[in-house]
């Protein structure tokens, strides 16, 4: 197992290098850069353009150099923990991401807890009472939950909330707490607002997890050892939770690592629709405005977290489920 981890970590380095190149190329794909679109925007509104300042900016961020050199400058910064500057915000990228990270994490973790709290019991119920009335209901609702894209669900929620409950579900805070320092009142306000994004983001995941949980548990319940344990006189519920459920929980562990990228990426589209102050809308904006260091660094960080997350899940699985073997041929 140790050899495997070393092998995987060794592969991490070239993978990340290629990822960083691809990220950089993608960000550079649109013609022009932030400064050209900045000049165009100024000229369109009839304002004077300070060409000296633009030229200074261009030199400061090495935009006048060839692309390969620009990449090296950018990479050099990242290795030292400097993610570059955002043109649009005129602030370091690290601060911008950091600011919004806390709320993104709160939403992601709440969503995860919501998903598990709902999906695990329902999945177990559906498997144990297969083809019962309740199983059919959950299956049907689950399919609809899977088919409805998150952002459309967000739209429907906003409509229902606005028309029938007279609350505007956008954002995470009421107006008076928007810029207020943290207090019990602000926390309570957050709790009042957070359930909508949590439900909206969590629905598809819950539906998917119910299907997986049900399928896995059904497979386990048919196995020989369940019959043997029953024949020995082990009570049904004790047996259920001691063996098959534990095995069926594997997919939860194998996906726990994917949590890492969602902590930063959040549900980008849902966040845009609901106007959440998370990292998602920041990325969208950066992409649309060719704010290249902000966008590039965010895509890079997301990819990095996905790779590390997958590695962590694999290691966790290996550790928790001794039946899994990664054999090398």
């Amino acid at each position: 197992m140790f050899a495997l981890i070393v092998h995987r970590v060794f592969w991490l380095v070239p993978t990340l290098l290629v990822i960083s190149i691809i990220s950089f190329v993608i960000i550079q794909l649109p013609p022009g850069d932030y400064l050209t679109s900045y000049i165009a925007a100024l000229e369109e509104t009839g304002q004077t353009v300070d060409y000296e300042r633009v030229e200074a900016l261009r030199q400061r961020y090495h935009l006048d150099r060839p692309m390969s050199l620009q990449y090296l400058y950018w990479m050099g910064g990242i290795v030292q923990g400097d993610l570059g500057m955002s043109f649009e915000w005129n602030r370091p990228v690290r601060d911008l991401i950091g600011e919004r990270l806390m709320l993104t994490m709160v939403i992601s973790i709440s969503t995860l807890l919501f998903t598990w709290a709902l999906a695990i019991p329902i999945g177990i119920y559906s498997a144990v009472r297969q083809y019962s009335w309740g199983d059919y209901t959950f299956t049907f609702v689950g399919f609809i939950g899977l088919a409805t894209p998150n952002f459309l669900l967000a739209l429907i929620f906003m409509y229902v909330g606005f028309t029938f409950f007279d609350v505007s579900p956008g954002g995470l805070f009421s107006e008076q707490y928007e810029d207020a320092p943290w207090s019990i009142g602000k926390f309570a306000d957050l709790m009042r607002h957070i359930w909508i994004p949590v439900i909206v983001i969590g629905t598809a995941g819950t539906a998917g997890l119910i299907r997986v949980m049900r399928g896995n548990l059904l497979d386990e319940l048919q196995k020989q050892y369940v019959i043997t344990a029953r024949a020995k006189g082990l009570p049904y519920w004790k047996l259920l939770f001691k063996y098959p459920v534990r095995v069926a929980l594997n997919p939860l562990i194998s996906t726990i690592g994917w949590l890492l990228p969602t902590i930063i990426g959040g549900e980008i589209i849902v966040s845009v629709v609901l106007g959440l102050p998370t990292t998602g809308p920041l990325l969208l904006n950066a992409l649309m405005n060719q704010d290249m260091f902000l966008a590039g660094s965010m895509v890079m960080v997301l990819a990095l977290l996905t790779v590390i997350g997958t590695l962590l899940s694999d290691i966790l699985l290996l550790w928790l489920d001794p039946r899994i073997r990664y054999e090398k041929k």
Binding site: I19, A147, L155, M158, Y159
Partner: protein, 382 residues
């Protein structure tokens, strides 16, 4: 996976045949067995039928839609849906009708308030002449499936901010939304099949290189990648170019999973007896590949393709909704939904949300169909 070969197990024909199946189940071809098995999945059959209807609508939308795509009823902006009725105060009518609507500006908010004029019944007629359009861009005609007499309006799902009929726009939008998934899937299919086949067939360092490359692509979070690529499409492109640009973007990620499946199948099938027999018989590599290996896992490929279509439909909807995908005047369901971004607009004009239901129905239908096909793909299993 020995059950891939065309030898039905004579011991369990019952599990394969539907109750009314003829006794020739032992001699039926693999495709026939699949069809019988598929037929047993009622939900999937219905979903398949529904999809046929949807694609039929998409194909003939010019004729089926009561108005052309960009026809503007200037006096009827944000008009509410006019439901089809059979019952009026005078009793039951044999021919369906809608009530005429009249708009009046609210004295303070200046918003137009529409009321139904129950005195004026507009009979819905079939095969009527209306606004002219070019059918498939080939010839000019003005026949529509249904409509009302001249001067009346029939907006079954209401109108948008410019007074364009929402039902007509949804029907036209289905043409884009439903085909973009198919085109994208075809592209990932070609890419995935070719690269997966090369990887599995040649093995060695080529295989290793391709697999590492796939891992790297898969380690990119898909939505940010989609967004970044879609944002990179130049503004100067024509709508058609953007359409193909978006499908390429969508299929760029889809092919990796397929390539892995193809590779896995080829790796296992390469060791099968029938491959060895073909090799011993002096069959060429390409012939073995296309004639012997490919047909054995074709059904599985079709299943994964069916399940990939809804993902692409959703991705297109999401990108267009964000303004990164297709742009007006091209009309897809996602583009239509951009009007519903504002809560106030949706609260005042809830019918703007109707494209959502078309998206959900199409996606559900593809999922159910894929589910049924997955069961049918392996007709020898229980």
């Amino acid at each position: 996976m020995t059950d891939e070969k065309q030898q039905p197990d004579p011991k369990e024909p019952e599990s394969v045949a539907s109750p009314e199946a003829p006794p020739d189940v032992l001699t039926a071809s693999q495709w026939k067995l699949m069809w019988w098995k598929f037929r047993k999945h009622k939900l999937a059959v219905w979903a398949g039928f529904l999809l046929l209807v949807l694609y039929f609508v998409a194909a003939f939308c010019e004729f089926l839609a009561p108005y052309p795509l960009d026809y503007r009823d200037v006096d009827y902006a944000y008009a509410p849906p006019q439901p089809i009725r059979l019952v009026s105060e005078d009793g039951i009518h044999l021919r369906p009708f809608v009530y005429a609507i009249e708009g009046e500006r609210h004295p303070e908010t200046r918003r137009k308030i529409y009321t139904e004029n129950t005195d004026e019944r507009l009979t819905v007629r079939f095969f009527v002449r209306g606004e002219s359009y070019r059918f498939w861009g080939l010839f000019e005609t003005d026949w529509h499936l249904f409509g009302v007499e001249d001067g009346g309006t029939v907006h079954l799902l209401g109108t948008d901010s410019l007074g364009r009929d929402l039902l007509s726009r949804i029907l036209y939008g289905s043409r884009i939304s439903l085909t973009i998934g198919l085109v994208g899937v075809t592209m990932s299919f070609v890419l995935g099949l070719a690269i997966g086949a090369i990887s599995g067939f040649y093995g060695g360092w080529i295989d290793n290189l391709i697999q590492r490359f796939i891992e790297i692509i898969q380690s990119f979070p898909s939505i940010p990648l989609w967004m970044a690529l879609a944002a990179a499409l130049p503004d100067t492109w024509s709508p058609l170019q953007i359409y193909f640009g978006i499908t390429v973007v969508l299929s760029l990620i889809g092919w990796t999973g397929l390539a892995r499946q193809v590779r896995g199948k080829i790796l296992s099938l390469r060791e099968e007896d029938f491959t060895t027999a073909a090799v011993l018989g002096g069959t060429g590599q390409w012939r073995i590949m296309w004639r012997h290996l490919l047909p054995s896992f074709m059904s599985h490929i079709i299943v994964s393709l069916t399940l990939a279509v809804p993902t692409m439909i959703l991705a297109e909807t999401a990108l267009s909704f964000l303004g990164l995908g297709l742009q007006p005047p091209v009309t897809s369901w996602g583009v239509l939904l951009t009007e519903a971004q504002n809560v106030q607009a949706v609260a005042a004009q809830p019918w703007l949300l109707t494209p959502v239901f078309f998206v959900i129905i199409a996606v559900l239908a593809f999922n159910f169909l894929g589910d049924g096909l997955r069961d049918a793909a392996d007709p020898y299993s229980k």
